[in-house]
């Protein structure tokens, strides 16, 4: 997965409060042969600070090709808030957002797509299914085109 125009490798921003989940996700993405850099954040505040930069405009990331892997249940804010802010930010709105969460509530799924989420995946409890889903996602990552940064 890379951005062809800038030739800069895509970085995966992983917002996941559970370190176990983060580890399992990373393991399985790697198993799919995806070697892009993964930036893990265990809470919403840190992730928002990184994405929107010190000035809070998101301009600091406009030159970087990014992909966001977002959990909805965070200790300090909901992933939905982050999704809303990213998708309504001038510089960040084209970043593909993959919501990866335990919630399979239909209303929640609808809301995320309404807000501009690109992919919504429910974490299966069964590990075989989980590992399979993440590996599939990894394969998906290896083929999707991430829009070039401005």
């Amino acid at each position: 997965m890379n951005s062809k125009i800038t030739e800069m490798p895509v970085e995966i921003v992983m917002v996941e409060d559970d370190e176990g989940h983060a580890r399992l996700i990373e393991k399985n993405i790697r198993r799919a042969g995806v070697n892009n850099n993964i930036l893990p954040f265990t809470n919403g505040t840190d992730a928002v600070n990184f994405l929107f930069g010190a000035d809070g405009t998101g301009a600091s990331n406009k030159t970087k090709p990014l992909l966001i892997l977002l959990d909805l249940n965070l200790p300090d804010m909901t992933g939905v808030d982050i999704l809303k802010r990213v998708k309504s930010n001038e510089h960040l709105k084209r970043i593909p957002v993959v919501v990866l969460t335990t919630t399979d509530d239909a209303v929640e799924i609808q809301r995320c797509y309404d807000l501009g989420c690109n992919v919504y995946i429910t974490k299966p409890v069964n590990y075989e299914n989980f590992a399979h889903a993440i590996r599939q996602l990894g394969l998906f990552f290896s083929v999707i085109q991430v829009p070039a940064a401005e």
């Binding site: 559970d18 399992l24 974490k123 409890v125 989980f130």
Partner: protein, 500 residues
């Protein structure tokens, strides 16, 4: 407040009683006094009559005397006629007087004396007339001149005049009494009137006060009512909030419990693949040692035993996780059902039950079971919820049939007031009476645990029925069958949903 009220209650009738009593007294007094005053008037008239008659008596005697004198003086017999006419008049008058004054002994005595004098006088006059008539004119003149007749006349006049004066005194007395009585009557009437006015005023005051009090009480009751209503509203709101809180809590708990479960499951999976790697490695080592003939026979066994223990441990962990996942999912499902908005619509229950039987027709045929749906009254409720309720009940009836007996399921219904009742009856294995409550509890089951299931169905059904504003009852005998009765309001609305 109750103290004063208790003391006030009898005041009104007492006042009324007093007023009535006063009226009776005034009326009686008035009647008595009016009668008295008529008696007084009669007495006055009587007195005046007596006076009149006394005067007449005197007048008649004077008439007789003047007739006698005229005759003696002129010898004209016409005067004698006057005399003769006056004498019976005088006697008549005297008799009348004696009659009307018979009640007065003093007057009777006086009249007796007057009568005596009258007799003497008339005798004297008769004698003088007789003497004159026989020609003895001188003797008659001498008799008159003798003055005895004049004395008699004067004595009689004095007596009569005294009687007239005495009657006048009686008249004055009686008039005064009559006036006094009249004054008394006036006073009593006025006093009574004043008292009645006072009682009336007091009554009006009391009525006004009790009206004010009842108005006050009414307002208090109204305020209390409003307050009660508010309290009920608050409590209902509290209850609804608490229920929502429980739903949210159940949702959050079950949801958040899944997260660590993913880790446990995940790293158990990782352990499994690690075990594969480790044992592969050990297998290689064992093979290497066997090649070097350094292998003791127990070594292979130990490795195999370790592998089995490892697998057993992993298997238990995985089964437990799968169980826990099922339970969490069940809680999640229930909490989600509890949060779903209901859309009431009129449901053709017969059609719905037929659809449900068709859905399970394949299974029913395999089991040799029959499902009969009677005429069912329609209900206005949430279609999905009602469908889930009956699908669960039919499913249970199919699931818990009796060995060696073809399952027969009957669904019947009836209307009772604002409720509709549906019975789902089967001839299955039945439920022990001790478990009649328990089967409705979450994760609780009854009888031999030889059928798959988590103990969620009936808990879910009861929660749904309660939310639909209805109730669930069960009558069942072990080995005979069960009847689940679902009672629903004919029309579901947000108001009649139960707080449960």
């Amino acid at each position: 407040m109750s103290e004063t009220r208790r003391s006030r209650v009898p005041l009104q009738p007492i006042l009324l009683g007093v007023g009535f009593f006063m009226l009776v007294v005034i009326s009686a007094a008035t009647v008595w006094l009016v009668k008295q005053s008529s008696t007084d008037a009669a007495l006055v008239a009587h007195t005046l009559g007596v006076q009149d008659k006394l005067s007449n008596l005197l007048l008649d005697l004077r008439r007789a005397e003047s007739g006698q004198r005229g005759y003696l003086f002129t010898n004209e017999p016409a005067y004698l006629d006057d005399y003769r006419a006056a004498i019976p008049d005088a006697w008549l008058m005297l008799r009348q007087l004696q009659e009307v004054t018979s009640d007065n002994p003093e007057r009777t005595a006086e009249l007796q004396r007057i009568a005596g004098l009258m007799g003497d006088k008339i005798a004297e006059m008769d004698r003088s007339i007789e003497l004159n008539a026989t020609g003895n004119r001188e003797a008659a003149r001498a008799l008159v001149l003798g003055g005895s007749g004049r004395d008699l006349m004067n004595g009689m006049r004095d007596l009569t005049e005294r009687a007239i004066r005495d009657e006048g005194r009686l008249l004055g007395l009686r008039t005064t009494t009559s006036q006094n009585n009249n004054l008394r009557l006036l006073f009593i009437t006025l006093a009574g009137a004043v008292l009645i006015v006072l009682i009336g005023a007091a009554s009006i005051f009391l009525v006004q006060r009790s009206r004010r009090e009842s108005e006050q009480a009414r307002r208090t009751v109204e305020a209390t009512n409003a307050n009660l209503q508010q309290i009920v509203e608050y409590r209902t709101a509290d209850l609804t909030e608490a229920n929502e809180e429980i739903q949210r809590f159940a949702y959050i708990v079950s949801h958040d419990l899944r997260s660590p479960l993913v880790n446990i499951m995940g790293f158990t999976g990782e352990l499994e693949s690690l075990r594969q790697d480790i044992f592969d490695e050990m297998q290689k080592l064992v093979a290497e040692m066997a090649r070097l003939n350094a292998l003791s026979p127990n070594e292979t066994e130990t490795v195999e035993k370790l592998g089995k223990d490892f697998d057993e441990a992993i298997r238990f962990i995985k089964t437990s996780i799968a169980n826990m996942d099922r339970l969490i999912n069940a809680v999640l499902k229930l909490s989600r059902e509890g949060r779903r908005q209901f859309n009431p619509e009129t449901i053709d229950m017969g059609a719905m039950l037929t659809t449900i039987s068709e859905t399970v027709a394949h299974r029913a045929t395999e089991l040799g079971a029959t499902i009969a749906v009677d005429q069912l009254p329609p209900v206005e409720s949430d279609r999905l919820a009602v469908q889930q309720v009956f699908a669960n009940l039919i499913d249970n009836a199919l699931k818990y049939g009796r060995a060696g007996e073809a399952t027969q399921i009957t669904v019947s219904g009836r209307t009772a007031g604002s409720k509709v009742l549906y019975d789902v009856r089967d001839n299955g294995r039945g439920i022990d009476p001790r478990d009649h409550q328990r089967v409705f509890e979450l994760f609780r089951r009854s009888g031999p645990q030889d059928r798959p299931g988590e103990g969620i169905g009936l808990a879910h059904v009861r929660a749904l029925v309660r939310r639909l504003g209805g109730t669930m009852t069960l009558s069942s005998e072990l080995g005979k069958g069960s009847t689940f009765t679902v009672t629903l309001p004919r029309r579901w609305s947000v108001e009649n949903r139960s707080a449960a």
